[in-house]
């Protein structure tokens, strides 16, 4: 039964990973930027939530909407203020700038909050669970996170397919010069995309802070998980990203179950390497003519 438990945990964890991965791939899809600071930008919202909770003394859940708005604004300003200078140029510039940004963010967080692990309190919700059978219980929190992840991903799809701005995202992603010729201000679109992406990962970041602990240096691992989920699922496919997240989550939890917790992350990496070796385009890759 521990295996089933581990599998369920893995799937629910996958929802969280899918949120992180979606942010990464939304930015990459729209502006071909691999944001190496992405992982750290999932830690930042947790620290914002921490400040809010300490100031306002309520449960972390209520901090989520506020943090989402803050991170949206942060994303918009970051893109317009810095990263727009990087889009369209040689991709090594993007890598170097975002890598430098990652280092700066991590060290600023270290200065402000020290390297200590922190946690976000959410009251009883963090501990209660649903009993499925005698030996299997699902925590309310992981379940809520998973459902929220699905809702968010669905909402993102609707946004991209049905709204004027969502169409503009897709057009810009297809051909940014032609998009400009249609009157689309790509500086603004890129900033909106980054804002939306960071808003999405803010949800994941705060949830994860409730579920487990966080510290300033965790961002690097988050980036790698997000990246692996994207690659496993397949570039260009949004439900693929969910699948990728779930598979990665499963690999980690089942790996821990099979070989011990020290090996769990490595098992995740191995699965990633296997997918990259045998199906480099990912499991649900969509091929779009470029």
């Amino acid at each position: 039964m521990d295996w089933v438990n581990a599998a369920v945990q893995g799937i629910l964890l996958g929802g969280l990973y899918a949120l992180f991965a979606t942010g990464l791939s939304l930015v990459f899809g729209t502006m071909r930027l691999a944001n190496l600071a992405h992982g750290d930008l999932t830690i930042v919202p947790a620290y914002f939530a921490l400040l809010i909770i300490n100031a306002a003394h309520f449960s972390a859940f209520y901090a989520i909407p506020i943090t989402v708005v803050i991170m949206f604004v942060v994303g918009y300003l970051l893109q317009r203020g810095l990263l727009n200078f990087v889009v369209g140029k040689d991709m090594m510039i993007g890598v170097i700038v975002t890598f430098g940004l990652s280092i700066v963010i991590q060290n600023v967080l270290l200065l402000a909050f020290t390297a200590n692990s922190q946690g976000l309190g959410a009251g009883r919700i963090g501990t209660i669970s649903i009993k499925i059978t005698d030996r299997l219980a699902i925590g309310w929190l992981p379940l809520i996170i998973f459902i929220v992840a699905i809702v968010v991903l669905g909402a993102l799809q609707l946004f991209l397919r049905r709204t004027r701005m969502g169409r503009a995202f897709r057009a810009t992603s297809d051909d940014n010069e032609a998009a400009r010729l249609m009157g689309i201000n790509n500086k603004h679109i890129y900033a909106m995309a980054m804002g939306v992406a960071l808003g999405i990962v803010a949800i994941g970041g705060v949830f994860m802070g409730i579920r487990t602990t966080f510290d300033p240096l965790l961002g690097s691992q988050r980036l790698i998980y997000a990246f692996e989920a994207v690659i496993i699922g397949g570039l260009g496919s949004s439900w693929g990203t969910l699948l990728g997240g779930v598979i990665l989550g499963l690999a980690q939890t089942l790996g821990a179950q099979a070989f011990g917790s020290a090996w769990s992350i490595l098992v995740g990496h191995v699965v990633f390497i296997l997918v990259l070796t045998f199906r480099p385009t990912g499991l649900l890759a969509k091929t779009v003519t470029t």
């Binding site: 004027r164 169409r167 503009a168 897709r170 057009a171 992603s173 297809d174 051909d175 010069e177 032609a178 998009a179 400009r180 010729l181 249609m182 009157g183 689309i184 201000n185 790509n186 779009v288 003519t289 470029t290």
Partner: protein, 232 residues
Amino acid sequence: MSLLEVENASVYYDDFQALYDINLKVEEGEIYAVIGANGAGKSTFLRTIAGVLSPRRGRVLFEGKPVDHMATHMRVVHGISMVPEGRRVFPSLTVDENLEIGGYRKRPGPWTEEKIYELFPLLVPLRKRQASSLSGGEQQALAIGRSLMSNPKLILMDEVSLGLAPVVIKRIYDAFQTLLDSGTTILVVEQDVQHVLTVASHVACFLEGRIALQGRPDELTNEQITAAYFGV
């Protein structure tokens, strides 16, 4: 006041000068043809009007206002729309969505999606199809319709007949009059010299980044045009 005035415009790609002191006027309600051999600078010229490039020297005036350093997307707001070389429809969007994007900046005017489908009925059965699966002619019709959706005062067409069957080209040229009637002036770059000269009221022939010949087609001889085209 001409609709479009280009004054002594010189355009560079980094260190390479592509256009030398271009002077040109386009009047409202006309079809202005730009011809020339490959590499003469025709597309560069169009891209400068559209805002993809900016002249290093000289000015571009639209309705009397200088637009030479205005961002591309703002020129659409002011009424300039380009149908780019190679059509460049958005491959992952459907035909409907491509037209919707064309209307991202809605200006007052007669063009709506329904009107576009009236103009190009061949697109009607393709409405829900992804643009990448369309044929060359269908994509060209879509690209033109897309540009019309913003109700531009000046539409720039870059080699719209390239690679298309004669019957498709004819359909596109037949559409020109409807465009003019709706209040859109046309500036068209073409390889097919003979055909475009039958509809154009003015023509400019580019050669190696300069205008070698300018005038009304009925006042120019074939020999003059050939000479300007090939630079002999």
